[in-house]
Every structure is written in structure tokens, then in C-alpha cells.
């Protein structure tokens, strides 16, 4: 029982949380492993050997967080000699429990370079690691820490979220995390961790990147314990002092959770631009069309192929929405960025980032303060077989055609690039892309509009129904990013929704009528065969009739199946053109036709067998 209390809810992975039986089972297993394994298995596992093999590359053999790979990481790997652990179930300043350390080893630290090791190392190895990590600091020689009692989560819901928003305001979370939670608060540019490295206030709209976990119980735990070694302080004292209630703190956790999507966004390979038929194409980032248009999540990572490389990209993802009206495409790209670079409030921060990253690459940035930038990249020409240019702005053989937006110039421009950093701006007479941008509450929204066909052979023409490769690159100037030092995505596809063919509307009644007609014909034929046209020889007559029936039955079956296939095609066309209702009804018709067709074939076959 004590194991269950001390390990729940934070020691459990999120997928198990909702199953009480599994929670109990897991707690028992965890308890058993903690109680039984150490004496038994750990003796056979050399924690130091595991550490030296898997951990020392980043954390250093001496545990001080300065392994050979540490220079490319921000936040830096944990310095175990300080015994400062962010993810704990204990008070601010207390040591973590063994289960706390194990949780981070198992699950990793989202949003950092620390992966989870649950699938890589055996349980005995991971437990031996916990013991070994503790040898790096004498602080662990004292009494083991006592985990806090977090109680149970309150029920949440709209009222809790509303109350949580009030608490967010009154305890002033916005000072670092910003009014909308995107890590753009006024204190954000001056934040350092305990070892003096610059550190970002978490973007609370991306809970899958929270250190210590993004679910309500985990957020509450961080509010209670703080994240030691970072500016994130404990809020336990204000509950103890009666400034807010414990329920208020839970409400705050519910509110923070509500700032992120219900599920971590999935990555779709195809970005669909819906065809607008009765709405004008949006010309601003605030157009109501964007409230309805589907959002596609495109993760980005640091450009670490071409020198100078960049290991600390600020923009971890962009959200893409697209619509068109048959004449022009409107593409809205949104992403979190705390500042409108260059912003003098952030210049020092970016300078610190650049210094911390300490790149030896030739041409690496030496300071910050350039503009923010976004590049949307397409192949210059579509090749047969969907061969795509090199994802880093193509090469000489296979160039890319790009739209570039920068925060320090109005609009956007088109270029042709033959490799990272080689983009050559097209002449002014050949510029066709327009852009408007807005920065608010730590978020950029940039809207690109371009004719589907610019009439220029240099520009990729967009055709409805055709899948066009598309990729994104983003730079945060105030994070010291420029040139090849930025964030990049892989290739995605942009597909423009097609106008719904007239056939989609006309065909269903026609098909129904035809089906009915065929049915009638078959019945009539059968009646003709059995009575109206008499064969002198009764046996021959019966044979002939049976043969005719058989042929008619099979014919009808095949025709109906063919029509079912046609319906399926129509259904797909309907869905893809964004007419879900038509797609649905065609699917129903197709299904019925398929059943009828199969029924006719099987019925005929059975009838033929039995009559023999």
C-alpha cells in the first residue's frame, strides 16, 4: 500500500493511468522490483559500466554533465555532482527519491536530448544506474528523502479551468510563461539555470514537451515541487500560507493542461488545401476561415548536416493550414516564438545561446539579433515518380523553389535555391507571392498567397488534385539563428482539394434509376423465359429457361458489383474534394450495390446447383 501511494500518480506512465487494475499491478511490480531486485540482480549489474557505456558521452565520466557531446546540447546534460534534479516528488531543494530518478531514466526528458531508456536497458541495469548516479554526490549519503503527498486530482472541467486561469493571473505565471503560455513573458529573456546557462520558459501550449510530464497530475506535481536548478519555483508555500487553496493549485494545473491539445498532435504526410466555393480566399491571418481550416502539425529539428550546423533550434514545429479558391492558394503558417526579432530585450539571451553552443563550424554565428525567417520550400519542377530535391534547399541538379518571409522586411519573395544558403531571389517582375504576418503573444502567423499558376515557367504551378512536395524551415534571430543555422522539416505533400465533379451530384439518382431498370429487366426476362415464349419440348424449354436465368443472374451480379466499384470511386472523390456528405452517401450506395451484386452471384450459383 505504501508503495502504491508513494509511486502514484507520478511514477506511472500516462498510458497506464486510466486503468486501475494495471496501476495496481504496475505499483506492485514496481514495489517488488524496488524491494527484491536490488539485493538480487543489482549485485550482478555494474552500474558504473552501464553508465560509462550509455551515459558518459553526454553526462561525462565524472558525472559533471560535460561529456564530449554536451557542447551541442541546451539545456546541458544534468550535472549529477550537484544533485539538482528537476523531476521529483519531494520539496524544492530536497533530493529525488529512487523512483523519481528511475522515472527520468525510463521516460527521458521531453524537449531535451535525454531519451527514455526503458526499452534499451534492462530493469536491473536501470536500477543499478540509479544507485550509481547517487554516488556522484555526497548529499545522497544522508537520510532518503520523503515524497510529498499530492492527494488526488480534482475533477477538472470548465469551472476548474476558469478558476485555474484566474490563479494563473494572480500568482503571475505570465511573468515568465506569457499571457497565452507561450514562454514569452517579460522575464523570459533574462532566465538562466543554476549553472548559468540561458534557459527558456516552457511553452505551455506544448505539453508533450514538458519536463516531468504534461498530464494534470504531473503539472500539479511540478507546481508543488518546482524544477530544481531552473527558475521554476515551488508553489507549495503559498498553499501552506493560505494565499491560494490546494484546490486552486489543482485548478491551475487543469488550466495549464487545457492550453495544449488533448492529444499530442500526430504528423500527417499530406497537407490538404480545402477548396473554398462560397467563401472568399482569406487575405489576413485573422480571417474566420482559419478557425475552421484543418491544422497540420509539422515538427522541425536543427539543421545539422550542412556547416555551420545548429543544434539548438527555437522553433520545434510549425502549424500549417491551407485553402484555395481555384485561382490562388492561401497558406497560413503559425509557430511559437517569444520575440519579434530583432528585439533588444532578447539580444543578450541570443548572445548567451550562441556562446553556450560554442560552435567550431566555419561561419557559425557569433552573436544574435538577426530577423526571424520562414521558408516554404517546393521542388522547382515536379519530377516523374515523385523524386524530390534534397530537403536542404535542393542541389544543382534538382533545385527548389522557395517562398521566404523575414520579420524585418514586408511581404515575402520567391527564390530558386540549389543548396542550403544558395537561394537566388527571382527578379521583381517575376515575384508573385504575397505575405502578411502578425506577431502576438509569443506566436508568429504568416500568411502566403500565390496564384496557383503564375504563368512563369520558373515557378512551380499548382494543380488541384496533384500532390506537391513541400517543406519548411524556420529561424529565430533572437536565438542566434541565421543562414544554415536554423530549424528544418522533411518533405511533406500539399494537395489542393478538387472541385466536386458534376457527376458526383448527378450520378446517384441516375445510378439508382439504372439499377432499378436492370432489376426490372431481369425479372421480366425471367418471366418471359418461364411462360411467354413456349418451347415445344418441355425439357429443352426448362433447360433453356434455366440457362437464361443463370446468365441473367450472373450478369446482374457483375453489373451491380461494377456499379459498387464506381460508387466507391465517387465516394473517394467526394471525400477528397472535402464533400464528406457525398462521400458518405456514395459509400452507402456502393455498399448496398456490393451486397446486392454478391447476393445475385451467390444466389444464382446456389440456384444452379440445387436445380441440377
Amino acid at each position: 500500500m505504501s508503495v502504491l501511494q508513494s509511486s502514484s500518480p507520478n511514477g506511472l506512465s500516462k498510458k497506464l493511468r486510466f486503468s486501475p487494475q494495471r496501476v495496481v499491478l504496475r505499483a506492485l511490480l514496481l514495489g517488488a522490483s524496488l524491494l527484491v531486485v536490488p539485493g538480487d540482480l543489482i549485485a550482478q549489474v555494474d552500474g558504473q559500466a552501464v553508465y560509462d557505456q550509455w551515459c558518459a558521452g553526454c553526462h561525462g565520466e565524472d558525472g559533471a554533465g560535460a561529456g564530449p557531446a554536451a557542447n551541442t546540447m541546451l539545456p546541458r546534460p544534468r550535472d549529477f555532482t550537484l544533485a539538482l534534479y528537476q523531476v521529483r516528488t519531494t520539496s524544492s531543494g530536497e533530493l529525488p527519491t529512487d523512483a523519481d530518478i528511475l522515472k527520468v531514466i525510463n521516460e527521458g526528458m521531453p524537449g531535451t536530448a535525454m531519451p527514455g531508456w526503458e526499452e534499451v536497458l534492462t530493469e536491473a541495469e536501470r536500477l543499478a544506474l540509479v544507485d550509481y548516479l547517487k554516488t556522484f554526490s555526497r548529499f545522497f549519503q544522508g537520510d532518503p528523502p520523503t515524497p510529498l503527498d499530492f492527494g488526488r486530482a480534482t475533477s477538472g472541467g470548465e469551472d476548474a479551468i476558469a478558476r485555474g486561469e484566474e490563479v494563473y493571473q494572480s500568482v503571475e505565471c505570465w511573468r515568465c510563461h506569457g499571457q497565452e503560455g507561450r514562454g514569452d513573458g517579460e522575464s523570459a529573456p533574462t532566465l538562466n539555470d543554476d549553472t548559468g546557462f540561458p534557459i527558456f520558459a516552457a511553452d505551455l501550449t506544448e505539453n508533450w514537451r514538458f519536463n516531468g510530464g504534461g498530464e494534470v497530475e504531473e503539472i500539479y506535481r511540478v507546481l508543488r515541487t518546482g524544477l530544481d536548478g531552473t527558475p521554476m519555483a515551488t508553489f507549495s508555500d503559498i498553499v501552506d500560507a493560505g494565499v491560494i487553496t490546494n484546490e486552486d493549485l489543482w485548478s491551475l494545473a487543469h488550466y495549464v493542461r487545457s492550453l495544449s491539445p488533448e492529444e499530442e498532435p500526430s504528423v500527417e504526410e499530406v497537407v490538404t488545401a480545402q477548396l473554398l466555393t462560397d467563401t472568399p480566399l482569406p487575405q489576413t491571418v485573422e480571417d474566420v476561415v482559419w478557425e475552421e481550416a484543418e491544422r497540420f502539425y509539422v515538427p522541425l529539428s536543427g539543421q545539422i548536416v550542412v556547416q555551420p550546423r545548429w543544434f539548438n533550434p527555437r522553433v520545434d514545429a510549425v502549424w500549417v493550414q491551407a485553402v484555395h479558391d481555384g485561382q490562388e492558394l492561401a497558406l497560413l503558417v503559425s509557430w511559437g516564438d517569444p520575440s519579434e526579432s530583432p528585439d533588444t530585450l532578447w539580444t543578450d539571451f541570443g548572445g548567451q545561446v550562441v556562446t553556450t553552443m560554442g560552435s567550431d563550424d566555419e561561419g557559425a554565428a557569433t552573436g544574435s539579433g538577426t530577423a526571424d525567417q520562414l521558408v516554404v520550400q517546393f521542388p522547382q519542377q515536379l519530377s516523374e515518380g515523385q523524386e524530390r530535391p534534397y530537403f536542404l534547399q535542393g542541389d544543382t541538379r534538382n533545385p527548389t523553389y522557395t517562398w521566404t518571409w523575414q520579420s524585418d522586411i514586408a511581404g515575402a519573395f520567391e527564390s530558386i535555391a540549389r543548396g542550403m544558403g544558395t537561394a537566388a531571389r527571382q527578379p521583381d517582375s517575376e515575384q508573385h507571392v504575397r505575405a502578411t504576418a502578425q506577431h502576438a503573444d509569443g506566436q508568429w502567423k504568416v500568411l502566403f498567397v500565390r496564384p496557383l499558376d503564375t504563368g512563369s515557367a520558373e515557378d512551380l504551378a499548382l494543380t488541384a488534385g496533384q500532390a506537391v512536395p513541400m517543406a519548411f524551415q524556420a529561424w529565430d534571430g533572437d536565438n542566434g539563428e541565421s543562414g544554415s543555422q536554423g530549424a528544418v522539416s522533411t518533405w511533406y505533400f500539399l494537395v489542393l482539394g478538387q472541385p466536386t465533379p458534376v457527376a458526383v451530384y448527378v450520378a446517384p439518382p441516375v445510378a439508382l434509376a439504372l439499377t432499378l431498370l436492370f432489376g426490372l429487366l431481369v425479372v421480366r426476362q425471367a418471366q418471359v423465359g418461364s411462360g411467354m415464349w413456349r418451347e415445344p419440348d418441355a425439357t429443352a424449354r426448362a433447360k433453356r429457361a434455366a440457362k437464361r436465368k443463370q446468365l441473367a443472374g450472373m450478369g446482374v451480379g457483375v453489373i451491380w458489383l461494377g456499379m459498387a466499384f464506381g460508387s466507391y470511386q465517387n465516394s473517394r472523390a467526394g471525400w477528397e474534394a472535402g464533400h464528406a456528405d457525398l462521400g458518405f452517401w456514395w459509400a452507402i450506395i456502393g455498399g448496398l450495390l456490393a451486397i446486392a451484386g454478391l447476393g445475385a452471384l451467390i444466389g444464382t450459383w446456389i440456384h444452379t446447383r440445387t436445380s441440377k
Binding site: S187, D228, D240
Partner: protein, 285 residues
Amino acid sequence: MIERFSGLRNTVLLVSVFVIAGCGGGDGGGGDAGAADAAPAESPVDAATAGNVSGMVTFSGTAPMMAEINMGSEATCASKHSTTPTEEGFVGGENGGLANVFVYVKEGLESLSFPTPTAAVVLNQDGCVYRPHVLGAQVGQDITLRNSDGLLHNINASPTENRGFNVSQPVNMDTNRSFPVAEVMVPVRCDVHGWMMSYIGVLDHPYFAVSDSDGSVSLDGLPPGDYVIEAWHEQLGTMTSNVTVTTGGTAEISFEFTEAMAGSPVPMGEPIDLLHPDGHQAVDY
């Protein structure tokens, strides 16, 4: 450990009071013994023979310019300052005096032990600056972290010998913390206001002081004997001085920091000895 469980500690205290009271009710002798155990030991110093250390901390050379603090949107704090506040890494005083120097007995008291004061020292956040900027406390003594600004501060202490803490204070309130191990100095910062810095010297005896705005400083009530006195400045490093305190006498000290000392290493706690993790000893400042 550091007192983070003030509630728990109070409960324990309360329980022990009840236990003692209960004992007292049943058996007067037992109760008295318990009370005697719980009471702090008397000061080991004979006031009749004690002497003092007194003197000046000065600075010679060109005083570094301290940047003005841009309190920007923090109107509440800005309005508390009659002149534009500046950063406090170097505060010079009258006649070459140097303020905010932590002066303390580093050696010479090893054979004595001192009771923990019951009164707390206060680290006040007032006008988005720490008052005082440099503070001394005894081991185990409550340090009251006070928010007088009514807006969010966090008190982020990063000691080396002790465990740290990082406490949010979004309203006017007091929070108590203490350090169980002597350490000179514990840096304290506010992450909300990047300019807010403070240093706490934690000692296992009461002989410490912070130089005032004209650089004067004194350590009173020291038992006669030989001492090493250290002066610590956050930008200029440390200086030490040997003094002899005679019965009832006042030993003069003088610390002259110079411009050339700018950039000297500034000790901040003691490094943790990785090679001898077992060898951690009671701090012998």
C-alpha cells in the same frame, strides 16, 4: 535538513511540548529534565572578559560604474525609489568606505559551539531589490524571506554545501528557510527580476557583520584570543587579517580592497570533493 517542512516541524515541536507538559504533570522532576534538554545551551562566552574587533573596509582606485536598473513595467517597485536604482555589485561609501562586505571570524572559534538564535533574520524584497543586499545568519537560524512588493518574486538560493530552494512569492508574505551547514556565501537570486541578487553568509557562530555605507564594521563580544578574520566582497574577492582580542579590549582591523582586485576569484561555498565523497566534514570556517 533545511526547514522546508515548517508545518511538520511545528507539529513535532507541539507534540514535544505536550509530551513535556504531560511529564511535568505526572512527575515534576522528569518534566524539568526534559525542558532543560530542549532549552538552548547558554552562550559559552563570558561577557565580562569579551572584547571586540572593529575597523574599516575601504576601496582605493576607480570605482566601477554600476548599471542603472531598468525597472521598466515594474511601476510599483520603481515608485519605491527616489532616485534611479543601480545594481549593487559594488557600493562605495563616504571617505573610500566599501559597503556590503561580509566580515566574519574564519578561524579561532573551533573549540566553541553556539546556540541557534530563536529570532529570525529577515531578507526583505522591497522595491524589487533585496534588503539587505548581504546578510549573515547562523546555522539553523530562521531566515525570513519577505515579500513587501505584492508582486511575484521567486527566491532562488543556490548554495554549494547546503541544499538550495526556489520559492514563489506572488503576494506580500513571509516564508522561512534555514541552512544546516556553514557556508560563505549562499547566492540568492530572483529569476523574475534578473537584477535581484543577494548573498547570505551562514556560520556556526555569531561573529559576523556586514560593512555599512561608510565601510565601518565591528564584531562584538568575542572571547579573548587569536583570530583570522576574513572580509568577503562579491566582486573583489576575499582578504584575511590576523587579530588578537585581549580581555575587554578592541582589536583594530582594516581591509583595503583595491581596483586591481576586480575580477579576483570570489569564493562561493566550497567545491564538493568528488574524490573523497565520504570525507565531507563539518565546515571549519
